[in-house]
Amino acid sequence: MQQMDGKLNFRQWLYLAGMLVAGLLVGYLYLTAGQPDMGIILDVRLPRLLLTVFTGMSLAAIGSVYQMMLANPLAEPYILGISSGAALGSVLAGLTGLFILMPLFGFMGAMLTMILVWTLAQKKGQFDRTRLLLSGIIAGMFLAAIISLIMYIYQKDTLLILGILMGNLGHIFSVGEFRFFLGCLLVGMGILVMLHRDSLKLDILSSGDLYAASVGLQAHKIRQRLFVLGSLLTGIVVSYAGIIGFVGLIIPHMVRLRVSNNQRLVYLHSLVWGAVFLLLCDFLAMHLTALELPVGVITSFIGCPFFVWLLLKKR
């Protein structure tokens, strides 16, 4: 049953609290597994935990917003091509030996792609939802082809490129890089708050542009705003963590299946569920075998069967 007021009932509070407790538990394990000393916890694991939590929150949040904004259940943070732009930027920086500048190049790649997709999405000066989706997909495919070409030519850097394409949360921070990351984190959290504040408007948009106009909302302006905010956030995330599939697609659907259809609630739960899910996946990626596995593989291995189970249970 749809809850329009966006307030949490007892069951939803319970889900949220349960997830938070699970998150704390996984977080504790994440930091302390293998009895590391305090130096390792503070200098290596805590930055990684922060990156993982931020990435999980952002991907799930953007997924929930895009699915609603584009009225497409397959929409996810990477569908608008921004991630490919960020990945290409990071790859180019890595290939030229500018490892420290990888996040910056990634971010620039994301921004340039955003401008391109934005321009292509205009129809007679108006923002068009279908054109946005199509131009995003085309731009993403084109940029992905460039990355494939680079990977083919620079085979010795295959690992670096795969790390970006399959997700790599084991970013090694220098002190300066970590400070810069904290700045990005702050900006990212600000964007997450702004997206949260647009939840009610998104709910209204889901009833149709005519209805939105009747209550004084300009649908295309809201979509523009959401697109820019979502792209900025995707750019930051991919620059640091690479492309981690599944979280942005599946988590919002899981939340809708278990909690509510109200966007504010979906958004709020997606933030927490996304963070906990990715934390768990990264923990498993690090400790399941002696060789660290790509986190993107784990997210799919866990996410797919769980989602199928949820679907079957709901039928």
Partner: protein, 294 residues
């Protein structure tokens, strides 16, 4: 009448097609043929792996090499040879055009190329030394293959002697803990079962990642911190300054004592190529230990 006309047109088209096909067939027949099975009593070698190229050079067989990969850059006389691609991306047609009597290649992706070319009758030899012992054995194998068995034996004996001498030089001395970084993102190092790991051990150092799942393997940054290496050899393009600013690394003995060495300090080809120049790598490593008072 129009039907007759249409039939005639079809007949003409079919006749034209037949003529074109016939012409095409004759044209292809007239092209010079390369039968890989017939090539050469003469010695024409194509070498895809730089370490094999170095061994052949030591055995004075470079005169018969007609093709190499981009990575085969030592000794400098290889600069004049025809390049048939990169180590992991060779041009099969370019190899066939050179009509090799023998194709030398390494393991992994090159083996698949060798298997394909073998189907066309190209004789191939796969050589991928995992250890110093296998490297010495490779010298004998290559020597036999290129008709330089005698020279191979003397080169092998003298290299074995040099290796023994290098090993003896550090016996009983302090074994510094060595961390060798071959890749930065993700972090990768070498195990003792790799050729490089064995070189570190033989030089009198103690490879900090003695046991890994693979010879060249992904590692965790926190494991490097735990193992507190005395020396860092970094081939991942990061400068000593960048390494020393990595979070949690500033207290490592190698960082505190400025013992981070990069490509300009020790040529990566000396350590990473399983070839005869590894002796230079061993001596350089020992020089670094000695320079630090060990």
């Amino acid at each position: 009448m129009p039907e007759m006309k249409r039939k005639n047109i079809w007949l003409i088209i079919i006749l034209l097609c037949c003529c074109l096909l016939g012409l095409g067939y004759l044209l292809i027949r007239s092209l010079p043929r390369q039968d890989a099975k017939k090539v050469s009593a003469e010695k024409r070698y194509v070498v895809l792996s730089p370490e094999i190229a170095e061994i052949i050079a030591l055995l004075e067989g470079t005169g018969n090499i007609v093709g190499i990969t981009q990575e085969c850059n030592f000794p400098s006389e290889y600069a004049a040879k025809t390049v048939v691609g990169q180590f992991g991306n060779v041009n099969r047609e370019a190899i066939l055009r050179l009509r090799p009597s023998l194709l030398f290649c390494s393991s992994l992706e090159q083996q698949a190329v060798a298997a394909e070319l073998a189907k066309l009758g190209v004789r191939t030899m796969v050589i991928y030394p995992h250890s110093l012992g296998e490297m010495l054995q490779a010298i004998t194998t290559i020597g036999n293959a290129i008709g330089q068995a005698q020279r191979a034996k003397s080169v092998r004996d003298s290299l074995a002697e040099e290796l023994e001498a290098v090993k003896a030089k550090r016996l009983g001395k302090f074994r510094p803990k060595v961390y060798l970084e071959i890749y930065r993102n993700p972090l990768m190092s070498v195990s003792d079962s790799s050729f490089v790991g064995q070189l570190i051990e033989l030089s009198g150092g103690d490879n900090v990642f003695d046991h890994l799942d693979r010879d060249y393997c992904r590692i965790k940054a926190e494991d490097v911190i735990r193992k507190e290496p005395d020396i860092i050899i970094c081939y991942s393009q990061d400068s000593p300054d960048i390494i020393s600013h990595r979070m949690g690394w500033k207290h490592l003995p190698a960082v505190v004592n400025h013992r981070i060495y990069v490509e300009k300090d020790i040529n990566p080809d000396w350590l990473l190529r399983a070839g005869p120049r590894c002796v230079s790598g061993l001596k350089r490593l020992q020089g670094l230990y000695a320079a630090n008072g060990w």
